[in-house]
Symmetry: C2
Subunit: 542 residues, 2 copies
Amino acid sequence: MLGMMQDWPLLCHKILDYAAAQHGGREIVSRSVEGPILRTTYADIHARAKKASQALEADGFGLGDRIATLGWNSARHMEAWYGAMGIGGVYHTLNPRLFPEQIAWIMNHAEDKGLFVDLSFLPIVEAIADNVPSLRKIIVLTDADHMPKSSKLEMVDYESWIGQHDGDFAWKQFDENTACGMCYTSGTTGDPKGVLYSHRSNVLHALISVQPDALNLGSNEVIMPVVPMFHANAWGIAHSAPMVGAKIVNPGPLMDGASIYELLDSEKVTMTAAVPTVWLMLLSYLEETGKKLPHLNRVVIGGSACPRAMTEAFQNDYGVQVIHAWGMTEMSPLGSLGVMKPVYSDLEGEVLLDMQEKQGYAPFGVEMQITDDENVELPWDGKTFGKLKVRGPGVAKAYYGGAGVEQFDQEGWFDTGDVAHINANGYMQITDRSKDVIKSGGEWISTIDLENLAVGHPDIQEAAVIGIVHSKWDERPLLICITKQGKNPAAEDILEFMRGKVAKWWMPNAVAFVEEIPHTATGKIQKTELRKQFADYRFDDG
Amino acid sequence: MLGMMQDWPLLCHKILDYAAAQHGGREIVSRSVEGPILRTTYADIHARAKKASQALEADGFGLGDRIATLGWNSARHMEAWYGAMGIGGVYHTLNPRLFPEQIAWIMNHAEDKGLFVDLSFLPIVEAIADNVPSLRKIIVLTDADHMPKSSKLEMVDYESWIGQHDGDFAWKQFDENTACGMCYTSGTTGDPKGVLYSHRSNVLHALISVQPDALNLGSNEVIMPVVPMFHANAWGIAHSAPMVGAKIVNPGPLMDGASIYELLDSEKVTMTAAVPTVWLMLLSYLEETGKKLPHLNRVVIGGSACPRAMTEAFQNDYGVQVIHAWGMTEMSPLGSLGVMKPVYSDLEGEVLLDMQEKQGYAPFGVEMQITDDENVELPWDGKTFGKLKVRGPGVAKAYYGGAGVEQFDQEGWFDTGDVAHINANGYMQITDRSKDVIKSGGEWISTIDLENLAVGHPDIQEAAVIGIVHSKWDERPLLICITKQGKNPAAEDILEFMRGKVAKWWMPNAVAFVEEIPHTATGKIQKTELRKQFADYRFDDG
């Protein structure tokens, strides 16, 4: 027997309808690539997104068409997303920090037909457009006055393009499982893999993420998503903020400390979200200038592990709560948040900081488990670590085109590729990537823990740990280091520094000093490259 | 093109799975009908609900079977709900305040096969069981020691019944639109009408209701649902509290001021929810004893309009925020909440109280409109009032068995039967029931506004306004009053008191004094009865 409740499909444009109806006057403030700070409202974005839908339809776009975006966070970028979704199209965010040939590869894989692009990224498009045969329309997110005098590209400015339409448009209706968004992961190995979000997954993810124990987003918040819209589905903020009528402040292209501070202060931002790198710049700026953050209440930090010193600085020096979060492009992206449950709500000082080094716990809608290599579930004891697997309405069930099938199992679990432990209260901590973890005599050793420990040595600039085959133990850790300029520590000196701080059997068998450690375009250590370089390396005893 | 996200059906028992996994140690405290205060946890409720599922299966219950409950709020009652839902059954809450013959009518209409019942309600069941032929199993929500020595009923105690099972049970899997719950409306006219909730509607309603600008429910809250589980789907709290791991404090059968205060204080309750009547008792108790509410942060008041004086007392005398809410059984039930948007966030004093007389604004997932009799949408100007219509995933699309079809239109709007205005910022205020509103010369007059005004006269005990046919104006208002004991005001005295406080053309044409005003079992004025009594009444000029 079915219930007798309304068939009200979870469609993303209903979020914008709601924002316009209930929070129409709430502002969206964006620093533009042209320079000025632009102000608009949810009512305006709603009206203009409808014009964008009309313009896309007039240009022959329709259901299922992938429409790429290459832009900083802005109201126009948000209109482009909703305009595309409103005709059943798919916004496809491209990461401008990738190499142009990677961007072209991704566009060809996705078969993007349209592209919204910021003025500042036109050189990228000029470099690759000829190699993307599916691309047939380029819309520059600016107005006629700012269009370049000449270009090899055929393109139109966004304002003129939507200006031809009246906004009298009914969003298309379709199944809530219809695709609406796309984002490729920039893995450290192999080709990028595409995640294809649905209207349902985005709406549910937004509902899950606004909860008090997640982003805690309400209409009185002023949120600055420093995290770019092209990074992991904008952490869902392009959907969650309008769902509750929060004011959005977009930093646009400028993420240096002074520029971020300027908007935090002038717009009285109450919460913000980004990767640790951005906050290093802000904290340096604050320290140099002696400025404070009186309006800011909390900062969500994810993308990579938040250093303890950063949490300490925000909380103790500036009175800003840090929410350490973890997620993945494949998860829409939120997976866990370091908000304190009652059992930890009285923690303070170092004990609180200890707990905040964990990536937090999963909200309703994200199921987690850790397993060993044989898929046996491991206990939540805060020590035993295993492959982290997740399930939920915001989690991918496959990659676009079918890559990476080995990450998805029969029971619906997605293998995140991370290795983690979870404590008895559900707080998870990432300890490694599963392809990097070292398997020594059947036990696992976390390379990240060893690297974090090694860089604590005063002479070490950067460290990477990889597994080297070993006749007795299968694999043993090799510590690879870059020393600080002018320093020349002995291997034994580094090992002595580490001794006693990790289990004895975790200790690296040797230390190798190198001039350079290879990185990806997005700054991650390329361990595959290192493993190639050290393919013939053997320990004296192994 | 469909998205490639996981098929993760929205099933209610996933909420309890989540609570057990992530908030397993969080307490549920219940005052039992047997007397003692019982303490349990989400982990326990989860384990015992699985035993209840096994016991139901062993008794031959399955998909779609309606299983009634007649009980106060308790952990066992919650286990019964989840146990029923876990096999694809339908919990069906019965309101013990209805007359026994009404309860029997409802059970027969729903064809209930099983019944969970509190000890205190056995007399009702003994009175009606013979008249409900579908009923074949009665489980008393108690243990063997408390079972009555003799009864005409064949029944089993809950603890012995689940005690035969081991809890090793996998919840049944089915479509998220499967029915899971049922509640009949106790209308002021006609037969009760059944609302049939689905797993999807309950899960979405819970996600919508925990939002910061709705119930603002997180794991650190201690919530006391004074609203009974049999009242309008427990206001969703049996789903929303476990979804976030909030501690629940169930008042059980005792709702007097002293009993409610005792639990608010001893369990450090941070938020609570009930109809205004309950709060009158608590506020009297506090006034008499001089006690305060240091732990309580906010109180959600709905079910009928919250009197201004009540809001004032809670906020000004006790520092407890009032959230005036509106909803309906047909809406799962939340429809709007009087939380302040930024535009009103600085209001205080009388101006804040003015705004709090409104029932608030709709969260994402509840669409609202007001229309005239010809279905033309009316403006949101805070004055123009019309039929209030709603749409959303938590709103009924029909009544069980097909009654009331006239309330559901083609575009999916449900006509609430309320008349309301909505202001430019989306804040809605109920002004009448549409069947009570008086249509005078094409314009509408709110009977509730006139009644509220009339009871402000010092000699008036209770007032009701009904429309009387009028040759020129179609209808004109008649004010019907009960005077306070020993008072004998003149009709003109009452009218003079009202004059100038409402538009001139709203003024009642006459006043009738009566000894008694008829009420329903749940305390609402029966205007149908009054209209019958005054069917032959005519005004001097009409």
